[in-house]
Amino acid sequence: MARGSSKLGVSAASLEKALTAAKVSYKIERWWKYGQPAIDQITGVINVTDFAHVGTVVQQLAAQQGKLQVTLEVFPYGIINPEGVHINFNIQQQPGG
């Protein structure tokens, strides 16, 4: 069987040049294990340990509404004595946006 790459027209000789060009536009930020979807592309988690800043962070995320669809969930952790707050957010393009 032939390599998949051999059907793409990039020769082994030109691979180095192609890699250099590709690295300009694409960077591997994270690498996920088999069967684990790249959750960072869809949603985010912010851990806020200073309670005074929770409102500000939520306001900043909520301000994206209108430009993007933002879903927020706020969970305190460390119950009974809360140590911080997890803010889960999910950002989607507005339909047609």
């Binding site: 998949g4 591997i28 690498w31 088999y34 979807p37 790249a38 960072d40 969930e73």
Partner: protein, 347 residues
């Protein structure tokens, strides 16, 4: 101290394999799941483990398998994870999605990942089922209508990179937001049926170029993720590959701040990083009454040993005399190294 690891510091991931039962017998399956395989974990074991792992700082639950939709108490477990404030993702072959199931997923899962291994003919061949593609694609409308964010996971082999452009176009047409390219790992059934089919590092380099091209072409419509490690990046940040010294207060730290991802396997074994990592490195077993104590003990004993293993993998990965191309499958390298240690001990 919050160790970064390959997923970054904000996502502390527990991958669950509640069952090895599957409606398919895929050629590339790393867990050798099949319709004949009935091994499952009781839901009480899973929820009990999740409570403890939440306390240990984990915030993402990712369910895989086997086919998770064949696990009868699935939504009991997912709802429990949601009640703990955890982000939930689920990976499925997509063939068993019904309106009722999708309705429940809309309430519990923030991201659905569906396996897609190439053009329909290739997908069906990999899945050992003549209608796998047709049945999966028929169900995508249900997912779209329910508004569940979804993506496709493509298993890259030595032979199918040329099909990635078709997969990306299909993903966009179906309304997917994510396309994830993951190198085949020759583990489980794949080690028998697809021996020699994992992409070598030359092919990974070609795949990176193709991913970059497709990402530029489909920018704003589809996020394309390439699951290979970049040697230059990890050389600059060894913590991303756990090539670090143990933190001084490991026993007092949460497990999630030390290690992510972790995997809860079908038999209750909790392993670091990868399904099938040698049991010499296992963290604990969720079926044992002292699960929490086992985790605490591992922080002092198993954690330094695992970092030692990761440091060895790291040194080899960044040694210029050992490689030609810039990308490699880090998880597979760690898994192989853990098994190699076992073989050396036996010898």
């Amino acid at each position: 101290m919050n160790c970064q690891g390959p997923n970054g510091s904000e996502f502390r991931v527990v991958q669950l394999h509640p069952t090895l039962r599957c409606n398919l017998k895929c050629r590339h399956c790393y867990s050798s799941s099949s319709p004949q395989n009935a091994e499952t974990l009781p839901p009480g074991t899973l929820t009990g483990a999740l409570s403890i792992l939440r306390d240990e700082g984990f915030n993402v639950v990712s369910v895989s398998g086997g086919e998770p939709l064949l696990y009868k108490p699935l939504f009991e477990v997912l709802n429990f994870a949601r009640s703990l404030g955890m982000t939930v993702t689920l990976t499925t072959n997509g063939m068993l999605l019904s309106k009722a199931v999708v309705g429940q997923l809309a309430e519990t899962a923030q991201l659905l990942a569906i396996s897609l291994d190439g053009i329909p003919e290739s997908h069906n061949q990999m899945r050992s089922h003549p209608q796998a593609f047709e049945k999966m694609s028929r169900n995508l409308e249900l997912v779209r209508n329910a508004g569940i964010p979804f993506g496709f996971i493509f298993a890259l082999t030595l032979y199918n990179l040329d099909e990635l452009a078709w997969v990306a176009q299909f993903a966009i047409e179906q309304g997917a937001r994510l396309l994830q390219v993951h190198p085949l790992e020759e583990e489980g059934r794949a080690s028998e049926e697809l021996s020699g089919a994992a992409p070598d590092e030359e092919e990974l380099a070609h795949a990176f170029v193709e991913v970059a091209r497709l990402q530029a072409l489909h920018s704003g419509k589809l996020a394309i993720q390439f699951d290979a490690a970049d040697r230059v990046s990890i050389a600059a940040e060894p913590a991303r590959a756990f090539a670090i010294n143990p933190v001084e207060n490991a026993a007092e730290s949460t497990l999630g701040s030390l290690m992510s991802p972790i995997v809860l396997e079908h038999d209750g074994t909790l392993t670091p990083l990868q399904y099938g990592v040698s049991r010499d490195y296992q963290i604990a077993n969720a079926t044992a009454p002292d699960f929490r104590e086992q985790i605490t003990s591992w922080k002092s004993t198993g954690y330094p040993r695992l970092l030692n293993l990761c440091s060895r993998v790291y040194r080899q990965a960044i040694d210029p005399s050992q490689y030609t191309y810039p990308f490699f499958n880090w998880y597979s390298a760690v898994l192989r190294a853990s098994s190699h240690d076992k073989l050396v001990q036996i010898a």
